[in-house]
């Protein structure tokens, strides 16, 4: 009798009472505070990113509105109002080319070896450990490698002497070597994700190992490999420390740094001395004049960030797409 009254009168109220009894009387204040603190930690990164990008735009945009294409087109100069970054664009372009031509084939090749050919033995795990360690070597140390080995090696070909030996080719090879471990690690991960069944199917119809790799493994792993490749280009184009150690032209911008631009895609640039966008940013930032240190540095950063962020976002979108497709 009593039971039916309770049940019929207000079932919802009882449920709420039971739920409250189970949950306890206190509201979970500490839990909410904890969650909010975690979210704040994440949002701080967002705020920093927003401040950073708005700072770059506020400081750098006036240079473009005042001077238009002149800044991208002009030459290095001791005068802040005339200085341009065309030589830096040439240098960064050729560095990206070096990464594509040298680091991509070598890195993907090494990844194929590690995943498809290498026997599971001590030597292989030593090579893998070595690659992980190379990925952690500070970039400035790669600069020393470039200065001591590549600068010397290339001067043997070109016969250049003194500072003229510090060429764009040496810098490009140095950065290709710097990003090589990244290309290897990301490509190896992409190749590892290829289902074994694809390989077995191809072997079953009589394909050789290379034919399996070319017709099954590489096409399936291509988006993952491309993602790593794009990230490595962005990394190389933004890297300044090795360039400075290898010998990017710093200071003495009064005569345009003695660097000609001519045709951007002329491979002759490789045998000349060089600057690149990140090394120009460094030089500008080191000037006492505010027109260099703030305005011109930020404008150069804008040019560099447009490229770096574009390449990075393509890589992120590509990877997200690829992951979603595979998980279906």
């Amino acid at each position: 009798m009593a039971l039916t009254t309770v049940g019929s009168s207000s079932e919802a109220a009882v449920q709420a009472r039971v739920a409250a009894a189970l949950r306890g009387t206190r509201a979970d204040v500490r839990g909410r505070v904890f969650e909010v603190a975690l979210l704040v930690a994440l949002l701080v990164s967002l705020v920093i990113l927003a401040v950073l990008i708005s700072r770059v735009l506020i400081d750098g945009l006036p240079v473009y509105t005042d001077r238009g294409w002149d800044f991208l087109d002009g030459s290095l100069s001791g005068s802040a109002a005339r200085a341009g970054i065309s030589q830096g664009i040439v240098g960064s372009f050729w560095i990206a080319v070096c990464v594509v031509v040298i680091a991509f084939p070598l890195g993907i090749g090494a990844a194929i070896y590690l995943e498809e050919y290498a026997p599971r033995n001590r030597l292989t795990s030593f090579i893998e450990l070595n690659i992980r360690n190379l990925a952690g070597v500070p970039s400035v140390v790669y600069g020393l490698l470039g200065l001591a080995i590549f600068v010397e090696a290339f001067s043997g070909f070109s016969g250049a002497t003194g500072v003229d030996r510090r060429t764009l080719a040496a810098a490009g090879v140095t950065l290709a070597v710097l990003v090589l471990p990244i290309v290897i690690i990301t490509s190896a991960e992409a190749i590892r994700a290829v289902p074994q069944a694809l390989r077995e199917g191809a072997y079953g119809v009589g394909a050789t190992r290379w034919e399996v790799i070319r017709s099954e493994v590489l096409p399936y792993a291509a988006p993952g490999i491309l993602t790593g490749a794009l990230l490595s280009i962005a990394r190389a184009v933004g890297e300044a420390a090795p360039l400075i150690v290898v010998g990017a032209v710093t200071g003495f911008f009064s005569q345009g740094g003695g660097l000609n631009v001519g045709n951007v895609v002329d491979p002759g640039h490789l045998s000349e001395r060089f600057v690149a966008l990140p090394s120009i940013v460094t030089t500008f930032a080191k000037q006492p004049e505010e027109a260099f240190r703030v305005a011109n540095a930020s404008a150069t950063i804008m040019a560099m960030l447009v490229f770096v962020l574009l390449v990075n976002s393509i890589a992120i979108i590509l990877r997200n797409r690829f992951e979603r497709k595979r998980s279906q």
Partner: protein, 314 residues
């Protein structure tokens, strides 16, 4: 009886196919092996370049000038390694104070709290931050963090930056690294542990703090070690915003300008064409490189070992 026997094959059928296929097969194998072996060659070349050029420093330097000198001023023959070691430790320490809570907090949120849809919106923030080149952070540290953050909160405004400004910027650079490695560690904690914890009535905070974090602790430690290694090796931020040009005197005050090992290398390198032959300045560049290389090598080795152990457990 009426079955007709197949005619015997005149010769064994050659199933091996076109010999060119086999030649190509062998050639590709050799090429891939060579590409992998090249990574070993690079490591050897790094060591050779460091030691062949740094040797002169080890044999010729007066070691009292290395360990007792109160300043790093290689062009004047002062090689006070303690100065730049202190600089590196201070900048790395500040960076870790910034990156550890922010990176870990972000990782815990993304791994334990965020709905999948929120995650896909928030995660790319860290990825974009990870892609910002370090020179950009350097200029940001010099032009904004130094006056607006360090100047405002610590009341000291050094127009060429300070270790504090540089350390904060290096910390920002390493947030994504801390976040992604420790998030991976937390996501690899099996869900059954979380479910068991929820099943005995634990709230999400208790589950996170008492179950997930202890289970992921080695991955988190590895993330922090990798971040420290990255911070020690970070060059451009300190070179641009560290507040010292090419020489520094020993200081432990983070609001002073000073040089780290990396910034000392960069500033030496900027002038190498002028100082060639000027005493031990150039060999000292390689000497600092050797010290830095082994610092980061040891940290990375430890972190990799820890990460591998985590992978074995789950």
């Amino acid at each position: 009886m009426a079955t007709t026997a197949l005619p015997p094959p005149e010769s064994p059928v050659d199933l091996s196919g076109d010999p060119r296929r086999h030649r190509r097969e062998r050639a590709m194998g050799v090429l891939f092996t060579a590409a992998a072996a090249l990574s070993l060659v690079i490591s050897v070349l790094i060591l050779v370049s460091l030691f062949s050029n740094g040797l002169e420093f080890f044999t010729d330097v007066e070691w009292s000038r290395v360990f007792d000198a109160g300043s790093w001023s290689p062009r004047q023959g002062e090689f006070g390694i303690t100065t730049i070691l202190a600089g590196s430790l201070i900048v790395t320490g500040i960076a870790m104070v910034v990156a550890a809570p922010l990176g870990l907090g972000a990782a815990i949120y993304l791994s334990e709290y965020a709905q999948p849809r929120v995650r896909t919106v928030l995660k790319p923030i860290l990825e974009v931050l990870a892609g910002i080149p370090s020179v950009v952070l350097g200029v940001f540290a010099l032009n904004w963090i130094a006056p607006e953050v360090v100047g405002r909160f610590f009341g000291e405004e050094n127009s060429s930056g300070s270790m504090m400004a540089a350390g904060i910027a290096v910390g920002i650079l390493t947030i994504p690294l801390v976040a992604s490695v420790s998030e991976d560690a937390m996501r690899s904690v099996p869900n059954s542990l979380r479910e068991a914890s929820a099943g005995v009535g634990a709230r999400r905070m208790s589950t996170t703090l008492r179950i997930v974090l202890p289970a992921a602790v080695s991955g988190i430690v590895a993330a922090l070690i990798l971040a420290a290694s990255r911070a020690i090796g970070e060059t451009m931020v300190v070179f641009i915003a560290g507040g010292a040009a090419d020489a520094a005197t020993y200081t432990t005050n983070p609001l002073d300008g000073s040089l780290t090992m990396t910034a000392a290398m960069a500033s030496l390198a900027v002038g190498t064409e002028n100082v060639r032959g000027a005493g031990l300045a150039v060999p000292s560049l390689y000497f600092v490189g050797i010290v830095l290389f082994f610092f980061t090598f040891a940290l990375n080795l430890i972190a990799n070992r820890i990460v591998r152990r985590v992978r074995l457990v789950y």
